[in-house]
């Protein structure tokens, strides 16, 4: 069984946390295990996914992007159309319902780009829960619009000024809060962290892959040849990969952030250029220096700017069930514009990494083949960054 009873995906995963949190994780594991078999819980999740989040999201044939490549046919799984603008709402909703079921009142979360923070703030507002979001000072600056959105929905945003002032430090601070307030529910935003988070977040996100499978079978009467998704912590990728794991002919491709190039050292690609280590409670590939200190990362996209990755991705990499590649800032910006022009869709910078790789791949494939890209979020939040990168003054 993956993960096993100790929360391991092969060699990866586990629970490397301070003792204070061990009983808290036991309580969470027990609550989630119960909820997993609770039909009422899932019925509530499905109803709110439909009426609150706007699911199912469409699987859309990207005619313009397909013609541009001249090869394989490309479909977009439109998570950008989900409420709050990204796939993050699936997990926030699932865990929000679980927190409520557990009788928790105070919710904490971390956020990088702000998408998970916004999704959590929305779910907390809807469910009537208190919400505190930790966000690196650097990210508060570059994603100010999302900070405002969170505050509008009643969340308290706490800027984090330690370390590199990005997602990694926001997680450190959220864990410190949790150690101090063990009655709080920590609504972690990706398939990282100690067990049961990687499997639980995957389960909530796998709605993406289940829908995509049904939709491609309905539209094309067959499974895709490739599924391509960007990987930071890796929740949107696991979400779409997971229901296809047993379909061995479907190739799974995860796209990490190569930043200014893998050789430059300024990137966020632990699966491509990292080594095994322990960060934020889980064993996985991470970016670290010669003495085991976590390295600073760089990506134009705040949501991918993280030195670790979910343990299940490490497992899929080693077992070769999935393949991982990396795309640079410049390439992502190029495909960001390409999707705007060919499809009239503005992707999140995170998703633009997947688009670049899929569009390149499509060129060398024949026209009968099918690629699904998980368009994990929309790019409204990235306008300032893209304008700046393109030298445009707003």
């Amino acid at each position: 069984m993956i993960p096993d009873a100790r929360g391991y995906f092969g060699d990866y995963g586990g629970q490397f946390v301070p003792e204070t949190l061990m009983p808290v994780l036991d309580e969470l594991t027990e609550a989630y295990t119960k909820a997993k078999d609770d039909k009422d819980f899932w019925r509530q999740f499905e109803t709110l996914s439909r009426d609150f989040s706007g699911r199912p999201t469409p699987l859309y044939f990207a005619r313009g992007l397909t013609q541009h490549g001249g090869g394989a046919r490309i479909f977009l799984k439109r998570e950008d159309l989900a409420h709050t603008g990204a796939h993050k709402i699936n997990n926030a909703l699932g865990q929000g319902l679980l927190a409520k079921k557990m009788g928790k009142r105070r919710i904490i979360a971390e956020t990088g780009a702000g998408q998970h923070g916004v999704a959590t703030a929305a779910v907390c507002a809807m469910l009537g829960l208190d919400c505190i979001v930790y966000m690196g000072e650097e990210d508060v600056r570059r994603q100010s619009l999302n900070v405002f959105r969170m505050r509008l929905m009643g969340a308290e945003v706490r800027p984090v000024s330690s370390g590199s002032r990005t997602l990694k430090d926001a997680i450190n601070e959220a864990i410190r809060d949790w150690v101090t307030n063990p009655d709080t529910y920590y609504l972690l935003g990706s398939v990282v962290g100690p067990a049961p988070y990687p499997a639980m977040v995957r389960d909530f996100q796998s709605v993406i892959g289940r829908e995509a499978k049904e939709q491609i079978l309905a539209q094309e009467k067959r499974l895709p040849d490739y599924i391509v998704a960007c990987v930071g912590g890796g929740s949107n990728a696991i979400g779409i990969f997971y229901p296809f794991l047993d379909d061995k002919d479907v190739k799974l491709v995860g796209v990490e952030a190569a930043g200014r190039g893998i050789e430059s050292g300024q990137h966020a690609a632990p699966l491509m250029a990292g080594t095994v280590g322990v960060l934020h409670g889980t064993k996985s590939y991470i970016l670290q220096d010669d003495s085991g200190q976590i390295r600073e990362t760089h990506s134009v996209s705040a949501g991918l700017d993280y030195p670790g990755v979910g343990p299940e991705h490490s497992y899929l990499k080693d077992s070769r069930r999935a393949q991982y590649v990396a795309v640079t800032d410049d390439q992502a910006l190029e495909s960001f514009q390409l999707l705007c022009q060919t499809e009239g869709i503005v992707p999140a910078l995170e998703s633009a990494h997947a688009i670049y790789h899929a569009a390149q791949m499509a060129k060398s494939l024949d026209k009968e083949q099918i690629i699904i890209i998980n368009l994990s979020g929309r790019g409204d939040k990235d306008m300032d960054i893209v304008a700046k990168e393109l030298g445009v003054e707003l």
Partner: protein, 256 residues
Amino acid sequence: MSRIASVFSQSGRKALIPYITVGYPTIEATLKVVPLLAQNGADIVELGIPFSDPLADGVTIQRSSFHALKNGVSPQLCLDVAKKLREKVDIPLVFMTYYNPVFHYGLEPFCSACVGAGIDGLIIPDLPPQEGGSLEAIARKKDIDLIYLLAPTSTEERIKLVAERSRGFIYLVSVTGVTGARDRLPADWEVFVSRVKELVSQPLCVGFGISTPSQAKRVARLADGVIVGSRIIQLMESGDIQPVGEFIKGLREALD
């Protein structure tokens, strides 16, 4: 009997265990302060190997860790420093760090290097017993005590698990929270310490939030030792180590 165990075999004496971050504010300060701690009545010294993401630490030790890392302090350098300290002091020295630097060094090589440097024990706050099996097996072979922690949230089942697996002593985290000097002891610390005492026979040392002689004295009525960290780091900020010696002396007097 391990060097740590013999500390607790002296009847009536309560163990005083100061923590310092290696290389804070300088390596020279570390080399000078440890003998001073020993002279003034410390029974064991915790040497902190700095880590970039110290998620169990409050602002004071976060700051000392980042400062030390900026000065280029690595696990290897900490081992070198420990070796030099071992020539100067006889009391047990234990490393306190997070799991990743140890894992990255390699569990076997790290334990061997610890033996070479005269290190007696390891405290790793993000390594609970469920994940500690491999390191524990190696450490035991090399007579290094792997010291586990308990917290106020620990259940009876977990107290028994830690009691079975911890060597040297058990580190009781007095509060649900991170390290850091606090004005007063947490409300229910006595309940917690008494609860553990009923279930285990090992020495119990209490840390997190103890920063004054009177707090230390109160804690030592129930516990076998007290651990003091953040307050010492604050005193060392200027680089002048004399105030640290005075402070330790005051704690010693309060305990005796």
